[in-house]
């Protein structure tokens, strides 16, 4: 499977995702944001970081960069797109995903391992997980507070487009297990075709027991499946 990771000035998880993809035998290429042509890819990843120093709004400037037109075209042609953390913010700024990520409710940057529940395991991204499986996974963000309008929220529920929700270790989804104030504890969403996934947690940080755990591996295995 061929993957491309788009690199913006200020991306800082681009090499982490490269390591994860290559460990899983993806044929990966790094693509600088000023490129106007994308290599043929089955998967495009918008990595985490602080593209353009979060100027204006997180992801706003990256969302207008040269390569983004190609990413939008590929997305419309059905290419799989994964946006992690800042990548999720960029996806909302491009309009490929609806909604937005507000500043964390308690105004603090949060970097810690939390728990998420897999709500939909029937997608290209999550088919190797069990439904309602609980993953321990790292988050590291200042703007991860998911917000959207009522129509979109209803659509997300009705079409089963909520990928993950923040929960506790036992799977309880409530205010106590909501780290950043996200609407209904939402940690990741799909577009209606389910070929685009945006998520705040970092699966690429959970691929090796030596440094964390392996709860992120199945996301990559799902993509290869």
């Amino acid at each position: 499977m061929k993957s491309s990771v788009i690199v913006f000035p200020g991306s800082n998880c681009d090499r982490d995702i490269k390591v994860a993809l290559e460990k899983m035998q993806f044929k990966n290429q790094m693509v600088w944001h000023k490129e106007t042509k994308l290599p043929k890819s089955d998967l495009i990843v918008l990595p985490g970081g602080f593209s353009y120093g979060d100027y204006l709004r997180s992801g706003a400037i990256a969302g207008k960069s040269l390569i983004i037109d190609e990413v939008i075209k590929a997305a419309n042609d059905g290419c799989l797109i994964l946006g992690i953390c800042n990548g999720f913010q960029i996806l909302t700024e491009t309009g490929l995903l609806k909604g937005t990520l507000l500043r964390n409710k308690k105004l603090k940057f949060i970097n810690k391992d939390i728990y998420i529940k897999v709500l939909n395991n029937e997608t290209k991204f999550t088919n190797k997980y069990k439904k309602d499986e609980i993953l321990k996974i790292n988050i590291a963000h200042n703007e991860g507070n998911f917000f959207t309008d009522d129509d979109h929220l209803n659509q997300l529920k009705k079409e089963n487009l909520i990928a993950f929700k923040y929960s506790d270790e036992k799977g309880n989804i409530n205010d106590f297990s909501n780290p950043n104030g996200s609407m209904e504890n939402i940690a990741g969403i799909y577009n209606s075709k389910k070929n685009i996934l945006g998520m705040m947690p970092h699966p690429e940080r959970m691929i090796d027991k030596l440094i964390s755990n392996t709860d992120g591996l199945n996301l990559f295995k799902s993509l290869l499946n």
Partner: protein, 78 residues
């Protein structure tokens, strides 16, 4: 032609920064009813026709400066 643009969070969107500023003002004895924090831009365009200029500024707002899901904006001629 020069314009100012004020961007604020919509009424029903939580503004935690504004809330902290409000609490701090109260703490130093300056009471107030409500506060909303926002952003301010000044933009100069090379246009003589006011209608054209304003259309351009509005496009800038909608395409980049403002996130229409959560923010409102006001354009003023300077």
């Amino acid at each position: 032609m020069k314009y100012s643009i004020t961007v604020t969070l919509k009424k029903d969107v939580l503004d935690p920064q504004g809330k902290v500023v409000q609490d701090t003002l109260k703490n130093i004895g300056l009471n107030l009813k409500n506060i909303r924090q926002g952003k301010y831009f000044e933009i100069e365009v090379n246009e003589k026709d006011q209608a054209v200029a304003e259309k351009k500024i509005d496009e800038m707002c909608r395409k980049l400066l403002v996130n229409l899901i959560i923010e409102d904006y006001k354009i003023n001629k300077l």
